[in-house]
Each structure stands twice: as C-alpha cells, then as structure tokens.
C-alpha cells in the first residue's frame, strides 16, 4: 500500500512538472509574441496553451490528448473550418452521456466505457492544470504587489 502510494506520487510530480514546464514555456511564448494583443485573444491563447500543455504531459495514447493536439493542428490550418464545426456541434440534443462526450475532447467517437476512462484521466490532468495555473496566478499577483511596494 505504501509502495503504491509512493509510485503514484512518484509519477505525479513528474507529469506535473512536465505540465508546468510546457505551460510556462507556452506562456512565455505568448507574452513574447503578442504582448499587446487584446485581452480576450490573450486569454484564449493562454487557455489553449493550458490544454495543450496538459495534453503534452499526458500519455499520447489517450484519445483526449490526441483530440486536443489534433484540434490544435486543425486550428493552425484553418480557422474557418473550426468555426463551422462548432456551429454544427451546438445543434445536438443533450443527454448526460452526450454532455460528457462534449466535455471531454475527442469524446464523440468513443464508446461509453472508453469515455469514462478518458474522463478520469482528463479530469486528473485538468485538476493538476488548475492547480498549476492557480499557483502561477498567485505568483504573479505577489510579484505585482512587490513591484507596487517597490514603487
């Protein structure tokens, strides 16, 4: 039991570190490339960066990681296409299963069993991502306060 915990905790920080690493790198990139772009676009870019960093950190066998990364590629290729797709997706009827399907990236093509598995994995990484982002925000705010104090 102890060992199990150890291994799990051994795995987690590593993945989390990868996640943070990817996220921070993309965050710096965003800051470097478009320092003065509008807020909404920036936030969207950051959110995308968050998801992508999650997907990069997780195992590539997962459907949701592939879906996210594939979506990223699609986004790069053609934005119009994506918009049309989103428009189509909105017109579906929702049962709880379908809701979950829509929440988990790439969930529309899975069977229910797989979907649950993917959901578990996805939720894990998502919670990690949230924690990472919270800490980053905390850090930023602290930094801001420092600057203010200095000034």
């Amino acid at each position: 039991m102890k060992q199990n915990k150890n291994t799990s905790s051994n795995n987690n920080p590593r993945k989390a570190s990868m996640q943070t690493y990817h996220f921070l790198r993309s965050l710096t990139q965003i800051n470097l490339t478009r320092p003065s772009s509008p807020l909404l676009r920036r936030s969207r870019a950051i959110r995308r960066a968050a998801y992508v960093s999650m997907a990069r950190a997780a195992s590539p066998r997962r459907m949701w990681t592939r879906a996210i990364l594939g979506r990223l590629q699609l986004l790069r290729r053609a934005r119009l296409l994506r918009r049309r797709r989103n428009y189509k997706k909105k017109t579906t009827i929702s049962t709880p299963h379908d809701k979950l399907r829509r929440l988990v990236p790439g969930g529309e093509e899975m069977d229910f069993c797989r979907l649950l598995e993917e959901t578990a994995d996805y939720a894990e990484f998502l919670s990690k991502q949230v924690r990472i982002m919270e800490s980053v925000v905390d850090f930023m705010e602290a930094e801001c306060k420092k600057k203010e104090e200095k000034v």
Binding site: N6, S9, R42, R47, T119, K128, V137
Partner: protein, 454 residues
C-alpha cells in the same frame, strides 16, 4: 415469392385444363385418386407425409425418407439431378409425380398415362422422397410449380402453388388422414391455412379439412430435427424464452454445453450477454475510479447521479481553467515575464514565505541546499535532500499537492534511500532542462534571497 408461385401455378393449371383429356378426366381422376389414397394404410401415409414434410421443410432431414425406402432414395436423387428429363422413365414416373412439383421442367412434358398415377400409391417403395438437398433447393427456387408427374390428367390434383411453404399437393392428399390425427396435437400456422384451403377447394375437395392439419404437420418433423430454419423461426420465441430462463438459472459456462442446436442458437445471445456483462463491469470499475477522483462523489450512489457529478466536476475544472487564463491574461502584461526569472523568483517566494515544506522538516539543510543547488555537479550525499528541495522549488505551483507528496514520501528519515532514488528518477530528464535553463541566474538570485532572509 409465394404469390408469384401461386399465380404461376394457376396458369399451369389452366394450361392443363385446356388439354381435353385433362379437362374431361379431372373430376373422375380426382375421385379415383382420392379413393386410392384413402386405401393406403395409415402407416404408409404416415411415412409419406413425414417424408414429404421433411422434404419441404428441410433438405437435410434424411431419416424419414430413408425409413420409407432405402433403394428408392438413390433413384430419386438421380432423378432430381437429371431434372427435366425425368419423365421418360417408368420408375421415375411415380417419383416424378412427387418431385415434378418441384421442377418447372416437369410441367410441360407430362405425357405419362393415368395408370401410372394409380401405380404410384400402392407402391410403397416409391413413397419416400429423395433427400437430395439440391433438389429441394431447386424446388424452392422455381416459381412455377410444375404439374405432377403422375400425368397431365391426374396432375391437377397435385398442382400446388407454394413451393417452400405450402408444400406439395400429394403431400396433402396422401397425408390428409394422418394430418387429421396430428391436428389435435399440433398447432397449425393459421396464416397459411386460407391460401392452401382455397386451392384445395379447387383441386381436391375432400381434403379441405386436412389443410390446417397439414400445415401443422409440416412443422412437427421440422421440430423433431430441430435444424431447420423454418423451425427456428417458428420456435424463435419459445427458444429465446428458454434461453433466457437458462441464462437466469445457470451460469453462462453451463449453457455452452447444451444440446448442439440450442447451444448454437444460445451462444449468440449468450456471447452477447457475456460481452454485455463484461462491459458493465468495466463501466462500474471506471465509475469507481472516477468516484475516487471526483471530490464529494464518494457518498453518491447511483450511476446517473454520479455521472452528473462527474460532468459538473469536469465542467467546473474547465471553467476554472478558463477563468484562470483570463486572470493570467490580465495580470501578465504588467510583469516583465521571463521563464528562468519566474522559476527563480518562485523559489524566492517560497523560501521567503516559508512555504517550502522541507524547511521545517530539515531546517539545517535548508540553507545549505540553496547553496549546493548552485553547484549541483559536486553534490554528494546531500543529493536526496537537495533534490527534494529542488523539486519543490522548481515545482512550486503545485504546492498543496507537493506538500502532500512530501508527507507521503517522507516518513521522516526512514525512507531516505527511497526518496533518493525517487528523486533520481525525478531528476533525470524533464526538470534538468528547466533547472539548467535558469542555472546561471539561480546563483545570484539565491544569494540575494539568502541575504534577504538573513
């Protein structure tokens, strides 16, 4: 198909009626034939009927035919293969009387004399039918039901429309007595009854009564053999019910070793049910996994509620990500943001705020570690602790997580070696890059932070 066959036959009938002999002799022949039929012993009729029905229902039901007469079977098979030429033979004539009904080729060349018709029935050797499957198949295929081989005169009696379903006229005529008997036992198929009865009304009136029994009769041997599709269709409901009962009663492994035919039919449902069971188990497993993962979901019972909880949780997380990204977007531009800078400063924060968990645990090493971090390469036995600190420093974003990790990983000083190797693995690839990136600045920052602390 049936209807087509029916119409085709009616035309055949007309054609035969047109021939003067046939038209004239029809009533007479009818009566005479019927009489002959009724003269038959019941046994023969039984054989006959069963053979016929088996022929109609299934190609593979050999036993009844074989029981009727062994040698004739061979001949019949031959005849069946010969097809349209069959009429020429004397011996074949009686058989063709039965078989011609199956062959469209028979309908035209029927010139055999009426006496043959008489000779058919007393001849018990010819009563049974060939079990040739190809023959039966052909019979099923042909839409125009040929006139009987007994002759164009007597043939009308034996014209019968529906090849596959309703069977042959001779069957009806000969097996009528038998059919009456069976009627009581069997539950005939009602839907076919009216059609056949209408036809028999034209051809041979005295057998009207037997029609219902006849259709029923056909079902009986097929049930016996149990292989036929027809029977499968007929018994479909009953069989499935049985299977369900078995499923409930026995474990799935036991059902596999059932009677062959049943098992084959059952296996399909069984495998489905097995697969379904496996799937359900998997789903419940994953649900449990999710239950552990999603906070506040452990008390919830019921799949739907749990699913709702999971959905809510994932949605919440996604919204949080969205919100935090917004926040980051607003906060970001104010700060001259650099990654290496960030890492170092984060370390500073943690050290300054005393948030680093190792510090209280290993207060002595805390200062030393920050220095040894600068000269990572020369580190010797302190690695484990230093590594730990570094982990927490580089990874300061998951503070709550990390503190938990540390408490779990470090039962103080006992699992020292453990943590050492863990950290070794932790160090090897990912974080080294991160750390090395900010390496040059680390020293300054750390020193400054130390001085700040001091």
């Amino acid at each position: 198909m049936e209807k087509e066959a029916f119409f085709g036959n009616s035309t055949v009938i007309n054609w035969q009626m047109r021939s003067p002999d046939a038209a004239a002799s029809l009533p007479n022949m009818n009566s005479g034939h019927v009489n002959i039929v009724w003269d038959q012993t019941i046994d023969q009729r039984a054989k006959f009927g069963s053979a016929l029905s088996s022929l109609v229902s299934s190609p593979s039901s050999n036993p009844p035919a074989a029981a009727g007469g062994g040698d004739s079977v061979v001949i019949r098979e031959l005849i069946g293969r010969l097809g349209s030429i069959c009429n020429s033979d004397e011996i074949s004539a009686p058989s063709s009387h039965y078989h011609s009904a199956n062959n469209s080729g028979y309908s035209t060349p029927m010139n055999s004399p009426p006496k043959l018709n008489l000779s058919i029935f007393p001849n018990p050797a010819h009563m049974p039918f060939s079990a040739d499957p190809g023959f039966v198949e052909r019979a099923a295929r042909c839409s125009t039901f040929g006139c009987s081989g007994g002759g164009s005169h007597g043939g009308e009696q034996f014209i019968f429309p529906e090849v596959g379903k309703l069977g042959n006229a001779p069957e009806e005529s000969c097996g009528s007595g038998n059919a009456k008997k069976r009627k009581a036992v069997m539950k005939g198929k009602g839907k076919e009854a009216p059609l056949s009865s209408s036809i028999t009304a034209v051809t041979n009136p005295p057998k009207k009564a037997s029609v219902g029994g006849l259709t029923a009769k056909r079902s009986k041997p097929s049930e016996k053999t149990g292989i036929e599709e027809e029977s499968a269709r007929q018994d479909g409901d009953a069989a499935s019910k049985k299977m369900e009962e078995e499923k409930i009663a026995k474990p799935p492994e036991a059902v596999k070793d059932y009677i062959h035919v049943r098992a084959r039919r059952g296996q399909a449902t069984d495998s489905h049910s097995l697969a379904e069971r496996v799937r359900r188990e998997k789903i419940s497993e994953r649900m449990k996994l999710l239950q552990d993962l999603v906070p506040g979901c452990s008390k919830v019972t019921g799949k739907a509620v749990m699913l709702d909880e999971i959905i809510n949780y994932v949605q919440l997380l996604q919204r949080q990500v969205e919100f935090l990204s917004m926040k980051l977007a607003t906060v970001n531009p104010q700060i001259d943001f650099n990654m290496e800078n960030f890492v170092n400063k984060d370390m500073e924060i943690h050290q300054n705020c005393g948030l680093l968990p190792p510090q209280p645990v290993y207060p002595l090493e805390a200062t030393a570690s920050s220095f040894s971090f600068a000269n990572l390469a020369e580190r010797t036995p302190l690695i484990s602790i230093n590594g730990l600190e570094l982990q927490s420093q580089v990874n300061p974003f998951s503070q709550p997580n990390l503190s938990r990790n540390l408490t779990m990983q470090l039962p103080p000083l006992e699992g020292f070696a453990d943590t050492a190797c863990q950290l070794g693995t932790f160090w090897d690839d990912d974080l080294r890059t991160v750390v090395q990136m900010g390496f040059s600045q680390n020293q300054e920052n750390l020193f400054s932070s130390q001085s700040f602390q001091g």
